[in-house]
């Protein structure tokens, strides 16, 4: 197993763990952190391929993804605060009103 495969396996593993974490954990903040974990896994694969191809554009793209992640968390956390202000809980089971 070469280094690249190792890192890609790590990337996939982080992504899978992040997704499963979103499913199994109950706390909304923790779920949000697992989302970040998923994103990190994806970024890792992006970095690996960038390095593999020697393309500068990949590095720029990684930087852009960082910025998007920062913007995302800047929006998500206030929304979460607002949610807790009205519902007084971090359990998403309490916010199941939006259903068919």
């Amino acid at each position: 197993m070469d280094d690249t495969t190792l890192l890609l396996a790590l990337s996939g593993l982080l992504f899978v763990l992040g997704l499963v974490g979103v499913i199994v954990r109950r706390n909304l903040l923790v779920m949000l952190m697992f989302l970040e974990l998923m994103l990190n896994g994806v970024i890792l694969s992006l970095v690996v391929f960038t390095q593999l191809l020697g393309a500068e554009a990949g590095a720029v793209l990684v930087f852009l993804v960082f910025v998007v992640a920062a913007a995302e968390i800047a929006i998500a956390v206030p929304i979460l605060l607002l949610l807790v202000r009205t519902g007084h809980t971090l359990d998403p089971g309490a916010y199941a009103g939006l259903k068919g």
Binding site: L19, V22, Y95, K99, G100
Partner: protein
């Protein structure tokens, strides 16, 4: 002058638009000025255009307005064509039309839809002018359909009365049958010749390049269209019912102009019929049969307008007889004289109905001659004209028709002449029967009606006088001679002047015999007529029932069709198949949506888990197939 024909056509359209949109608000004086003034102006323009035509040596005026459609190499143009034939038609349409507009001022006075009436009447004039002036069959067809529309609107003018509305529908639907034939004929012509300009079609057929079979098919199909519009057997059933409309409408549309459109069409397409002797024979036979059968029905009708309606059908039959034996100009001649005396008769009948406060049954009339002298006098003149008494208009044209029925080299025969003469005798008989029952003898009116009998106002009587005058002199114009350049004339089988004179004498004798027969039967209280009626009760029932054509149509066409519509189209097709499948689809969608809605539980974890499943599926698919 350029644009003259377009102006002629557009004047009545302007009247329709102005009266239709504003007439109700601006009051009857305004409606009169627009509704009568514009047809009069149109008549003036028609005369002007006719003068130009004559000074130009009868060279046809062609005026292209715009290109309607350009399909491949074929341009469909809206263009107008004025030769002597269409000039005669345009003059009849605008002249008689304008007179009837004037008459309507008196007749329709006080009607709550006064403006609508004049709007429709102007609309009719517009379409009729489009019909007679169109150079292309397509334009003619637009006018053809348009006059059908105007006829429908005016028959059902008093649409609150269900019977009248139904009569309008009957006219419209019956005409559709004929129009189908007309359309098919047009398609066939376009396939064979590649153009719809009528002068070019005539040239193409006259050039002998078109197979005789096609000429025959086109001839028969166009004649089917003509039987619808001109109320010939078997599509004559709508015209008697069309009498539900206001009487001036019956005079203008259902006697003088629109119903003659079929005659005009066939005269216009004479080039086709010259190549189609079989179709011509059919026309002659149908025309003569119609003339005879309608005349027999007219003998026993008791409604004053119905008698005139069957008389119209009969006279149209005469015209088709002339067309069938190749005497196109003579047919147009009879059309011309008929327009005047039949308009005079209808307007006179309208005046009678007006005087009797709406009474139409001739069994409750009688003795009106002294009470309403103007109406009576003009009616007598027109009756004599239609009966063929010399030197009135009908005598000349009908005599010509009978002469050509015998002597034409294109299908003239003794049988046509014999039956035609018999019909002429019946014409004189039923018309003078009508005159006797309405104007002479003792009064059979209800007393309260008799008290209110009054002569009609001057707009009506003056028009009657003008029309009666024309009923006298219209025959003195040698119209067949005038139309020689525009329409082909048949060869004669024998050109013996003595025979012609003998026939004329015979025709006069026949007409006089008809008059005396009427006097004999109806002169002294109608007792002899009643005796005959009782003796031949079965024949009387057959005639009074109009040969039960409506009933036969009802049995043969209407009921099976209604059954099919109800059972197959409504119950099976509409309710079961269409409604059923649509309701089924709707129910499926509703149930499917209800099922899918359960998936959307509102639980975030559940959504994430389904995302995971979707991801697995995508990955499997990707690695298997991409």
């Amino acid at each position: 002058m350029n644009g003259l024909l377009t102006l002629l056509v557009l004047l009545p359209l302007a009247g329709f638009l102005v009266n239709g949109l504003l007439g109700r608000r601006l009051g009857p004086v305004f409606v009169n000025i627009v509704g009568v003034g514009l047809p009069l102006a149109a008549f003036g323009v028609a005369v002007w255009a006719w003068r130009i035509l004559e000074t130009g040596g009868a060279e046809p005026l062609i005026e292209t307005v715009f290109t309607w459609a350009l399909i491949g190499d074929h341009a469909f143009e809206v263009s107008f064509y004025l030769d002597r034939l269409s000039a005669v038609m345009a003059l009849i349409v605008t002249g008689v039309g304008a007179l009837i507009h004037i008459y309507s001022i008196g007749y329709m006075k006080g009607d709550e839809s006064y403006a609508r009436y004049f709007a429709y009447l102007n609309l009719f004039l517009f379409f009729m002018l489009l019909l007679v002036l169109g150079r292309s069959l397509l334009v003619l067809f637009v006018g053809w359909e348009g006059v059908g529309l105007a006829s429908y609107l005016l028959i059902g003018f008093w649409f609150q009365d269900v019977d009248k509305a139904r009569a309008g529908r009957k006219a419209f639907i019956t005409n559709r049958v004929g129009d189908a034939g007309f359309l098919l004929g047009m398609f066939l012509i376009f396939t064979a010749v590649g153009t719809l300009e009528m002068d070019q079609i005539n040239q193409a057929f006259a050039g002998g390049l078109i197979p005789a079979g096609i000429a025959t098919a086109v001839g028969i199909l166009l004649f089917i269209g003509a039987t619808g519009k001109s109320a010939q057997i078997p599509l004559h059933v709508w015209l008697p019912d069309a009498m539900a409309g206001p009487t001036p409408v019956s005079a203008l549309i259902h006697a003088a102009t629109m119903v003659t459109a079929g005659v005009y069409l066939i005269a216009r397409m004479s080039g086709v019929y010259l190549e189609a002797p079989a179709a011509s024979t059919l026309i002659a036979v149908i025309g003569l049969l119609t003339a005879f059968l309608a005349a027999t029905i007219a003998l026993v009708q008791t409604d004053i307008k119905k008698v005139l309606a069957y008389s119209t059908i009969s006279q149209l039959g005469f015209m088709f007889l002339a067309l069938g034996v190749g005497a196109y100009a003579v047919a147009v001649f009879h059309l011309f004289t008929h327009a005047f005396f039949k308009a005079a008769l209808f307007l006179g009948a309208g005046s009678v109905i007006h005087a009797l406060s709406g009474e139409q049954d001739i069994r409750r009339m009688g003795g009106l001659a002294r009470r309403i002298p103007w109406t009576s006098g003009t009616f007598l003149v027109a009756t004599a004209a239609i009966a063929g008494l010399p030197p009135l208009a009908g005598f000349f044209s009908k005599d010509e028709i009978l002469w050509f029925a015998l002597a034409s080299g294109q299908g003239g025969s003794v049988w046509l002449w014999l039956l035609g003469s018999l019909t002429a005798f019946l014409t004189a008989l039923y018309m003078f029967r009508l005159y006797w029952l309405v104007f002479l003898g003792r009064s059979r009116m209800a007393p309260e009606v008799a008290e209110h009998v009054h002569e009609s106002p001057w707009p009506m009587t003056s028009v009657l006088v003008v029309l009666a005058l024309f009923s006298v002199i219209a025959g003195w114009f040698a119209l067949p001679h005038y139309l020689e350049g525009a329409l082909p004339a048949p060869d004669l089988r024998f050109a013996w002047p003595i025979l012609h004179w003998a026939l004329i004498l015979f025709a006069v004798l026949i007409a006089v015999a008809g008059v005396f027969a009427a006097r004999h039967l109806y002169g002294n209280g109608g007792q002899r007529a009643e005796a005959i009626e009782q003796r031949f009760a079965r024949i009387h029932r057959l005639l009074a029932g109009k040969y039960f054509v409506d009933e036969v149509y009802d049995r043969l066409l209407q009921r099976p069709w209604r059954w099919v519509s109800d059972r197959i189209f409504l119950r099976l097709g509409d309710r079961l198949l269409l409604d059923g499948s649509l309701h089924g689809l709707a129910a499926l969608a509703r149930r499917g949506a209800a099922g899918l809605a359960r998936v959307q539980s509102g639980s975030l974890h559940w959504y994430a888990w389904m995302t995971l499943l979707g991801l697995v599926a995508v990955l499997i698919w990707m690695w298997r197939y991409v």
